[in-house]
């Protein structure tokens, strides 16, 4: 899980954040002013500053926020001037939107705010539905509105073209001001809360932002999503009373507190109506003491009452947003907040420390105990000067208005009774009740006053809001007492001096713990299992030291001197004690070791079924000391005892087929691969299966002399279950004319769970999980169920993956009731899987295996292709009396493997230059596509630092879906519309290249995936056709045309030798048909780059393969027939000089 942040504001209005991976509060240095409140989401943080404006801080990402503006230029043909902008009166505007209804000339487009900048000027889009148009981008039609084509015909009377311009959000990582709704009558915001991102995934990054004004009105910010982070406008939401504070959860819960102490709950919040429709009132937890504060999560509501008591609302979920009743909790808090995963944070009323509620789980939402977060602030020693700087700059930043407030502080400081001053200073302000008593020493009373003080008067007069946070006054009050013998003249003239003194004299500075005023966990992704280093309370400075040294010993343990010493001495010992005595007899003779067990076996003859068998693995030492073994399956055949056996050195792969009903795995030999009929076995328990798999795997590796991590040349593949396999290629694998048959390849499993993996020849390997998380290979081996010896100790990390499980709810229409869940007896189940053949209800549906756990509830999936109605129903096209709704539930796998996460951008494709780098520190080009379709270029990737350092965004006019870089830095990509693009001028000097060249896809086909080898470019289209790009030369790298190679192809991987491997959709074996099979193209050579025929390897159930690490040149076989000059050499030199790759440097 990538690190995320908890945001807090201290009593001085300084904003800090704490990383889930961190151990100190980091001050938000950028803050030019003090803040009252902040509310965080994962991608941004909103806040109300002391100037009462709302500010937005969008967290920087390597992916820029770009918005594409478009407008259409329309023309009509007339006999005199040809096409011109003289349109008929009935026609559309000369410049319009796509519908033609809205007039939008180029100069009508303005930047929405000062936070945006134009990326470039307007230009004509020359890509029309995946096809390149003529230079000027016109598309033609008979008339508006009509069907457009890219070709001008005799009947073409009108034409139009699309103009594009991008604007970019530039105020990343700084606080950008958001205009308030009513500048003229100042009713500034006093509370703000964001959430709602789980209501709908469309549009991406959608947020609900609720705000409360001092007069108790509620406002909703409309139109916030990824491409419009600021939102578009404030809309007032009517409320049944005056609201004090509001809280919006990640889902559809919104609660608010009224001044009178009751609570209101927003009803009717749905995917289509994120603002909700009405309010329902809920009584205060305590009849005598009103509520002051509420905090909501997904299925949880917490509240505080005026006496600082904490309350938990029982029985809240999205069906019953009001819950059932209040439960009193331990603790006295002044503010409370619910973060992600319903985790709870609060600020203690006595000590003003931030508390984390421990033990909050989905089954126990109220948690167990409060635990104070106790970590130092960054630069605690030097923070006073730092804050001085920021305050000084604040003084400079704000003109007149703020200066007045600052001098107001000065007065405050020079006065011994700040409260009185407050009243005097805020001359236009309301009469703050009981303000004279607000300088007691009891922290508790102060805390109570904090809420009282921000109350506006009931009359609704404008409040001087500047220092409405009483915490600030307290601090200054103390300061005044400690000795602000400052000259009033001095302070009034130089405001920053006053604040400087404030900081210097800060009574809570270095020695005391910080005093917090506000907390927001909306961006903080923790759960009850998270390992947090936040609670080291005893002696922070020494503890940080020791923790650091511990982490140091973890990271550098590999090279620690003590370890080195042990390795060296053991080697020395072996030399000393054994090297001269090898002729001595061993005390213990080697013998056979047998492990037995019982299992079920999917028998070889019809009718196929599971039968009980005895299973045994006999292991013995071979003649050269290598281990070998035989496995036996003893079964009964018509009362007769029989057995089946297989030599361990013949096994090519062990595939776990774990599913919820049986713990099965498959064993293949070359023969079984040809038959497409493996030995299928089922163990009694998952644990037993894993024990057997680990043992058999070790045994297989022993017999083949394979140990340690995969080599740099290794071929990686992934099954449809996400299991990762790796095979060591022999030089003969790509030999001509007799390569090693690929059914003989030995595959071993590597821990982890991925959807795709890509590698290159220097051993850089990246993977992408089902949840689109990017992972980099760490150089270890094992993990997962491989424990002990089959796994390396180092470089194995926890890996998680999330995928969705789908079920269908089906309904049939009948004339009386319309659609109901009453089907006909012959119908599919009312709750079913995709096929409709199996009944799958919400309750009986289990995660894919015991390794997976549910992490969300069933929810309707609206994002189905073909679209749904408002309730998510899809109508069966061919059978309209039937509707179904797609229900989706996410489940999560936690495993281990040699993978480390590369946060934060989610990816859908990645490619690494398959060239051999000259040294470990040479930068290796790596390109990727984000799961939103952005093209990215990774910087800082070397063999030593395979994770790289940061992303460089490469602009495109539309989302992309596949990318591949060839050995000569040729970058090819596939756009979502199915057309191909070639990236020009990519070189080590210009790693991102300069522009995209549009390459039309093969006629009537939408391309899906591309792979580029040394010179070959191959693509796969949506219909499973494999295409080879003809005519690619150094001077014309885009090539000339697509040539068809094969059909039934799901995926292609072209290696650095231009070798072609695919995942084939259907392969017929002698016993059965397999889908998802690894195949190798035979006969590929420079004169025949398309190859001749397929050789079939492991499968089915395979999803992905990459051969881009294998640059092992085959042995040069000189057959007699090939020695005469007329025949081409097996591998003639590459004809293109600048595409030549030094492939010998990679072998070591």
């Amino acid at each position: 899980m990538p690190a995320s942040r908890l945001w807090v504001v201290d009593v001085y209005g300084r904003v800090f954040s704490l990383s889930t991976a961190g151990q100190q509060w980091e001050q938000c240095r950028d803050a030019q002013m003090e803040f009252k409140r902040v509310t965080a989401a994962q991608q941004c943080c909103w806040g109300i500053a002391c100037d009462n404006n709302v500010y937005l801080n969008v967290h920087a990402s390597d992916l820029p926020i770009r918005y594409q503006e478009e407008t259409y230029e329309n023309q009509r043909w007339n006999p005199i001037g040809g096409f011109s902008d003289h349109l008929l009166p009935s026609d559309r505007w000369q410049w319009s939107d796509i519908t033609g209804l809205k007039h939008q000339p180029l100069d009508s487009f303005e930047l929405p705010s000062s936070s945006w900048e134009w990326e470039g000027d307007w230009y004509v889009d020359e890509n029309f539905e995946g096809e390149p148009t003529e230079k000027e981008g016109w598309t033609y039609a008979i008339d508006f509105p009509a069907f457009y084509t890219k070709n001008k015909k005799m009947t073409s009377c009108v034409r139009r073209r699309r103009w594009l311009r991008y604007r970019r959000y530039k105020d990343m990582d700084t606080w950008a001001k958001i205009p308030s709704p009513q500048m003229e009558t100042p009713d500034p915001f006093s509370d703000i809360s964001c959430g709602g991102w789980e209501i709908s995934e469309e549009p991406r990054g959608r947020l609900s932002l609720w705000a409360v004004s001092l007069l108790g009105k509620v406002w909703f910010r409309v139109g916030i999503y990824h491409h419009n982070p600021e939102g578009s406008m404030w809309e007032e939401v009517s409320v049944p009373g005056e609201v004090l504070q509001i809280s919006c959860g990640p889902g559809d819960l919104v609660w608010a507190v009224l001044w009178e102490g009751q609570l209101i709950v927003r009803q009717g919040i749905t995917r289509d109506c994120s603002k909700g429709t009405s309010w329902v009132e809920v009584e205060s937890p305590s009849p005598d003491v009103g509520a002051t504060h509420v905090a909501v999560g997904i299925n949880t509501v917490w509240a505080l009452t005026k006496d600082n008591k904490v309350w938990f609302r029982r029985g809240v979920d999205s069906h019953n947003p009001c819950g059932l009743g209040w439960i009193s909790m331990v603790g006295e808090m002044i503010t409370i907040n619910v973060g992600l995963n319903d985790q709870v944070f609060a600020i203690g009323c006595e000590d003003r420390a931030v508390y984390f509620r421990q033990g909050v789980t989905t089954s126990e939402l109220s948690g167990k105990t409060w635990k104070a977060i106790s970590v130092p602030r960054d630069g605690d020693r030097s923070h006073s000067s730092a804050s001085t700087n920021s305050l000084q700059s604040a003084g400079c930043f704000f003109s007149g208005e703020v200066r007045a407030h600052d001098s107001f502080i000065s007065e405050l400081i020079s006065d011994r009774e700040p409260a009185k001053t407050l009243r005097e200073g805020g001359s236009a302000g309301p009469a703050v009740p009981e303000e004279e008593e607000t300088l007691p020493s009891e922290g508790e009373v102060k805390a109570l006053c904090a809420d009282v003080a921000i109350c506006p008067s009931q009359s609704g007069g404008p409040l001087d809001p500047q220092w409405s946070n009483v915490d600030l006054e307290e601090a200054q009050g103390q300061l005044a007492q400690t000795g602000a013998a400052l000259d009033a003249a001095d302070t009034s003239s130089l405001s920053s001096v006053a604040t400087y003194t404030l900081a210097m004299e800060d009574p809570y500075g270095t020695d005391e713990h910080p005093l917090w005023a506000w907390v927001s966990g909306g961006g903080c992704s923790v759960d009850s299992h998270s390992h947090l280093n936040w609670f080291n309370s005893v002696n922070t400075s020494s503890l940080v030291g020791s923790v650091q040294s511990m982490s140091l010993s973890v990271t550098s343990a590999q090279t620690a001197a003590w370890r080195q010493q042990i390795f060296e001495q053991l080697t020395e010992r072996t030399k000393r004690e054994m090297d001269n005595f090898k002729h001595y007899e061993q005390a213990i003779e080697q013998s056979v070791w047998v492990k037995k067990g019982t299992m079920q076996w999917w028998r070889d003859w019809k009718p196929y079924k599971w039968i009980d068998v005895h299973f045994a693995l006999e292991q013995f030492s071979g003649p050269e000391g290598n281990k070998d073994g035989i496995l036996f399956i003893y079964y009964n055949f018509y009362e007769e005892k029989k057995y089946l056996h297989a030599f361990v050195n013949e096994l090519t792969i062990l595939v776990p087929v774990l599913n919820e009903s049986k713990h099965t795995f498959a064993i293949y030999t070359p023969e079984r691969t040809k038959q497409r009929f493996p030995i299928r076995l089922a163990a009694a328990t998952e644990l037993e299966m894993h024990d057997w798999l680990a043992l058999l795997s070790v045994s297989c590796c022993h017999s083949r002399g394979i140990q340690g991590p995969p080599s740099k040349q290794a071929i990686w593949s992934i099954t449809c279950k996400g299991d990762i396999f790796v095979s060591e290629p022999s030089p003969a694998l790509e030999a001509m004319p007799y390569p090693t048959p690929c059914d003989q390849m030995f595959w071993r499993q590597v821990g982890g769970h991925l959807r795709m993996v890509e590698c290159n020849t220097v051993g850089i390997v990246w993977g992408i999980g089902y949840d689109h998380t990017a992972w980099v290979y760490t150089g270890g081996y094992g993990g997962g169920f491989f424990q002990g010896l089959a796994s390396s100790t180092d470089n194995i990390y926890t890996q998680t993956d999330v995928k969705s499980v789908y079920i269908y709810e089906n309904q049939r229409w009948n004339p009386l009731e319309g659609f109901t869940n009453r089907g006909l007896p012959t119908d599919r189940y009312m709750w079913s899987d995709a096929s409709g053949l199996h009944e799958c209800t919400k309750t009986n549906m289990k995660p894919p295996s015991t390794q997976w756990t549910w992490v969300s509830d069933w929810a309707i999936d609206y994002s189905v292709s073909g679209g749904t109605d408002k309730e998510g129903w899809q109508y069966a096209a061919d059978f309209p009396v039937f509707v179904f709704v797609f229900l989706r539930r996410k489940c999560k796998l936690t495993t281990t493997g040699p993978w480390q996460e590369i946060p934060p951008i989610a990816l859908s494709d990645v490619t690494i230059l398959p060239c051999t780098a000259q040294s470990n520190v040479d930068e290796v080009p790596l390109w990727a596509i984000s799961n939103k379709g952005d093209v990215l270029c990774r910087l800082g990737v070397t063999a030593l630092t395979p994770a790289g350092s940061s992303w460089l965004h490469v602009g495109t006019d539309q989302p992309f879906k596949s990318i591949s870089i060839g050995a000569a830095s040729q970058v090819w990509a596939i756009a979502r519309d199915g057309s191909a693009f070639y990236r020009g001028s990519v070189s080590p000097q210009s790693p991102a290249g300069d522009c995209w060249y549009h390459i039309p896809s093969p006629s009537k086909q939408k391309l899906r995936q591309v792979s580029v080898g040394r010179t070959s470019v191959l693509t796969v289209d949506e219909n499973g056709n494999l295409w080879y790009r003809q005519g690619v030369t150094p001077s014309y790298p885009q090539g000339s045309s697509w040539e068809h190679i094969s059909n039934n192809v799901r995926k292609v991987s072209v290696g650095p030798l231009d070798q072609v491997w695919i995942i084939a959709d259907k392969v017929q074996g002698s016993h059965s048909l397999s889908c998802g099979t690894v195949c190798h193209r035979l006969g590929v050579q420079p004169v025949e780059p398309k190859g001749i025929l397929w050789d079939y390897g492991i499968g089915g159930g395979w999803d992905h393969i990459t051969v881009r690490g294998n640059s092992m040149e085959p042995p040069r076989v000189r057959l007699p027939s090939l020695t005469d000059a007329s025949a081409p050499a097996p591998r003639s030199p590459i004809p293109f000089r600048n595409m030549e790759v030094n492939s010998s440097a990679g072998d070591s």
């Binding site: 010992r573 054994m578 005595f581 080697q590 340690g708 150089g779 002990g788």
Partner: protein, 281 residues
């Protein structure tokens, strides 16, 4: 390429420890009655095994030259010291014979069994009982016996058979379970260790010692020695008087104890540490 030489894996240490061998020459005691002269017998002894478990061949060899009535229980002696079979072979060698010329010269006796010094060992089942009790004791220290008690009889057998037949994989397939611990605790409850000293009358030191201090600091070999046997550590400025030897090597004193326990323990799951005088020459 420099990088790769550093990449030795901790798994290799387990292998090196398991496959450690001491070249030994067995000579029949002069006083034994023989029918003809007995040739010495040469053997590679596994450091992690026990003398009586791996000397069937030795016994067979000498019995060929002896009359049955002259043969009592076999025992071994090195330079006048009877060798305790219930200590691992490597410990016996490090304790009594390290820094001497190889092969290790052991004298074989068939009479005058030194009852005061040695335990009787009529069969390998006695070794098995001793071995298994050590494992159970170690797990009591490491996991309050939870792991070993959760194992089945056949699992115990697998550990023993692994040792008896020198099957590294078979042994470690099971032993890894005994080496697990909750990551949040940073190590075992207590480290099972024994410190042997040649110069002491006590057989060995064995007390409770945790891998991590209450403050959360990782305990090292040096911390353990300081607590258990401070005399073994060199004083500032003085020449080193003692060597702290495990499996014939001297790990640095800053080596984390938990790591040592996981990687340099004998199959009985104890870390056997020998404190021997530094050779003077």
């Amino acid at each position: 390429m420099i990088l790769e030489t550093f990449m030795a894996d901790d798994k290799d240490v387990l292998r090196d420890v398991w496959f450690g061998r001491i070249p030994t020459s067995f000579t029949l005691n002069q006083d034994e009655v023989t029918e003809r002269e007995a040739e010495p017998y040469y053997l590679l002894l596994p450091r992690v095994s026990y003398l009586t478990l791996v000397t069937d061949k030795v016994k067979k060899h000498f019995l060929k030259v002896m009359r049955a009535e002259d043969v009592e229980e076999m025992w071994f002696e090195y330079e006048g010291t009877p060798l305790k079979w219930h200590y691992p072979i490597g410990v016996l060698f490090d304790l009594h014979a390290s820094n001497t010329v190889l092969p290790w010269s052991i004298t074989v006796h068939f009479k005058n069994f030194p009852d005061s010094d040695l335990l009787h060992c009529p069969s390998s089942s006695v070794v098995e009982a001793h071995f298994m009790s050590s494992i159970k004791e170690a797990d009591a220290l490491k996991h309050k016996s939870q792991v070993v008690n959760d194992m089945q009889k056949k699992d115990h057998k697998q550990l023993w058979m692994g040792l008896q037949n020198d099957k590294f994989d078979q042994f470690w397939a099971m032993n890894r379970k005994l080496m697990e611990y909750p990551t949040e605790e940073g190590g075992f409850r207590y480290i099972p260790f024994r410190i042997y000293q040649t110069m002491s009358d006590r057989p060995f030191i064995q007390r409770l010692f945790r891998p991590v201090s209450p403050e959360g600091n990782v305990h090292t070999l040096g911390d353990l020695m300081k607590e258990m046997d401070p005399a073994a550590l060199p004083n500032d400025g003085e020449p080193k008087r003692y060597q702290v030897v495990i499996h014939g090597i001297e790990p640095l004193l800053e080596t984390p104890l938990q790591w040592l326990s996981e990687h340099l323990s004998h199959p009985d799951n104890f870390l056997h540490i020998c404190v021997i005088p530094t050779p003077t020459d």
